[in-house]
């Protein structure tokens, strides 16, 4: 699962380029995002604009990524497709993550 990395402002933006985070891809997804985010700035924004499908394994992988970040780091989510947003809402994980309509808004909202 290739990941596009970009520094924006003080944040690290990780754009998922695969269109699915599911039972097939979730372990690789977790490892690659964790490796990219480790030692990075305090805000890591996961840009999910290309993701058209996520299941409970994908959701679990995003939670797992958050756990391997350092305590000073925060994982924010941006650009959720309707079905992705639905998965976060129905499992109430929208109360655990800060979810933003786009990357710019996520970066503006972040206070170091």
């Amino acid at each position: 699962m290739p990941l596009r990395q970009q520094k924006m402002g003080g944040a690290l933006v990780l754009a998922v380029t695969d269109d699915r985070i599911d039972a097939v891809s979730s372990i690789r997804f977790k490892d690659e995002v964790a490796a990219a985010a480790r030692g990075g700035p305090s805000q890591v924004v996961l840009d999910l604009s290309r993701v058209e499908f996520i299941d409970s394994s994908g959701l679990g992988a995003i939670v797992a990524v958050m756990k391997v970040l350092s305590p000073e780091q925060q994982l924010d989510l941006a650009n959720l497709a309707p079905i992705v947003d639905k998965v976060f809402r129905l499992t109430r994980m929208d109360s655990v993550f800060a979810i933003y309509p786009d990357v710019q808004t996520a970066i503006r909202a972040h206070v170091d």
Binding site: R20, D22, A23, V24, F53, S56, V63, K67, V87
Partner: protein, 155 residues
């Protein structure tokens, strides 16, 4: 993955889609996508298609992971029958029975905990129960039979 509905005749609403697959994750992904692609785009809205894809993926991945304990060669059958007001689905497998012979509770887990204690799993049945109607499980003749309906066309 949205596809513009092409101009085509009225949907054959009672056409049964039936698919047999093995319990390997790649095959589960392909099978569920194949079912969704076979459903008439005139009949289903994009959000209904993606909701059904999610529910089927959760159910079949659960079978692969738990009923077949991750074995890739377990037999699974998916039947989907579109109806005017909904979709009826039946999923059958020959794996282990559900623990206690009944469906998992699918309850909300406590999320008001330190980050390190957040759950990484257990969301599947929560989603399945939330997104389906008339969910029914039966163990019969060494097989698991799971049935559910999904309403469509609602507001």
């Amino acid at each position: 993955m949205s596809i513009d509905p092409p101009t085509r005749p009225a949907p054959q609403r009672s056409t049964l889609i039936r698919l047999v697959l093995n319990s390997a994750p790649e095959e589960v992904r392909a099978a569920v996508q194949s079912v969704i692609l076979q459903l008439d785009p005139v009949h289903l809205r994009p959000d209904e298609r993606s909701t059904l894809e999610l529910v089927l993926a959760e159910i079949v991945n659960n079978i692969a992971e738990h009923a077949y304990s991750g074995r890739p060669d377990g037999w699974i059958e998916i039947s989907v029958r579109p109806q005017p007001d909904g979709i009826s689905c039946r999923i059958t497998d020959e794996g282990q029975a559900m623990p206690g012979g009944k469906l998992p509770s699918g309850l909300f887990q406590d999320l008001n905990v330190p980050t390190q204690d957040l759950p990484e799993g257990g969301f599947g049945w929560l989603l399945i129960k939330d997104l389906t109607r008339d969910l029914d499980y039966e163990r019969r003749a060494g097989r698991n039979h799971l049935r559910f309906r999904m309403a469509i066309g609602g507001v």
